[in-house]
């Protein structure tokens, strides 16, 4: 499977995801944001980081960069798109995903391992997970507080477009297990065609037992499945 990781000024998880993809046997290429031609890819990743120093709004400037037109076109042609953390913020700024990510409710940057529940395991991104499986996974963000309008929330619920929800170790989804104030504890969502996934947690940080755990591995093996 061929993947492309888009690199913006201020991306800082681009090499982490590249290492994870390589480990999982993807044929990966790094693509600088000023490129106007995207290499043929089955998967495009918008990595985490602080593109353009989070100027204006997180992801707002990256969402207007030269390569983004190609990403949008590829997405509309069914290419798989994964946006992690800042990548998720960029996806909402481009309009590929609806909703937005507000500042964390308690105004603090949060970097810790939390739990998320796999809400929908019938997608290209999650088919190797069990339904309602609880993953221990790292978050590291200042603007991860998912917010959207009532009509979109209804669309997410009715079409099973919620990928992950924040929960506790036992899988309880409530205010105590919501680290950043996200609406309905939402940690990741799909578009209607389910070829685009935006998520705040970092699966690329969970592919090696030596440094963390392997709870992120199945996301990549799902894509290869």
């Amino acid at each position: 499977m061929k993947s492309s990781v888009i690199v913006f000024p201020g991306s800082n998880c681009d090499r982490d995801i590249a290492i994870a993809l390589k480990k999982m046997n993807f044929k990966n290429q790094m693509v600088w944001h000023k490129e106007t031609k995207l290499p043929k890819s089955d998967l495009i990743v918008l990595p985490g980081g602080f593109s353009y120093g989070d100027y204006l709004r997180s992801g707002a400037i990256a969402g207007k960069s030269l390569i983004i037109d190609e990403v949008i076109q590829a997405a509309n042609n069914g290419c798989l798109i994964l946006g992690i953390c800042n990548g998720f913020q960029i996806l909402t700024e481009t309009g590929l995903l609806k909703g937005t990510l507000l500042r964390n409710k308690d105004l603090k940057f949060i970097n810790k391992d939390i739990r998320v529940k796999v809400v929908n395991n019938e997608t290209k991104f999650t088919n190797k997970y069990k339904k309602n499986e609880v993953l221990k996974i790292n978050i590291a963000h200042n603007e991860g507080n998912f917010f959207t309008g009532g009509a979109h929330l209804k669309e997410l619920q009715e079409n099973n477009l919620i990928a992950f929800k924040y929960c506790d170790e036992k899988g309880n989804i409530d205010d105590q297990s919501n680290p950043n104030g996200s609406l309905e504890n939402i940690a990741g969502i799909y578009n209607l065609k389910k070829n685009i996934l935006g998520m705040m947690p970092h699966p690329e940080r969970m592919v090696d037992k030596l440094i963390s755990n392997t709870d992120g591995v199945n996301l990549f093996s799902s894509l290869l499945n």
Binding site: K64, R103, K105, G149
Partner: protein, 78 residues
């Protein structure tokens, strides 16, 4: 021609920064009922026709400056 754009969070959107500012003001003895934090831009453009100029600024707001899901904006001629 010069315009100002004021961007504010919509009424229903939580403004935690505004809340902290409000609490701090109250802590130093300055009472107020409510405060909302926003952003302010000054934009100069070369267009002479005011209606056209305003339309250009409006486009800038809708395309980049404002996240229409959570923010409202107001354009004023300076």
């Amino acid at each position: 021609m010069k315009f100002s754009v004021t961007v504010t969070l919509k009424k229903d959107v939580l403004d935690p920064q505004g809340k902290v500012v409000q609490n701090t003001l109250m802590n130093i003895g300055l009472n107020l009922r409510n405060i909302r934090q926003g952003k302010y831009f000054e934009i100069e453009i070369d267009e002479k026709d005011q209606a056209k100029a305003r339309e250009n600024v409006d486009q800038m707001c809708r395309k980049l400056l404002v996240n229409l899901i959570i923010e409202d904006y107001k354009i004023d001629k300076l």
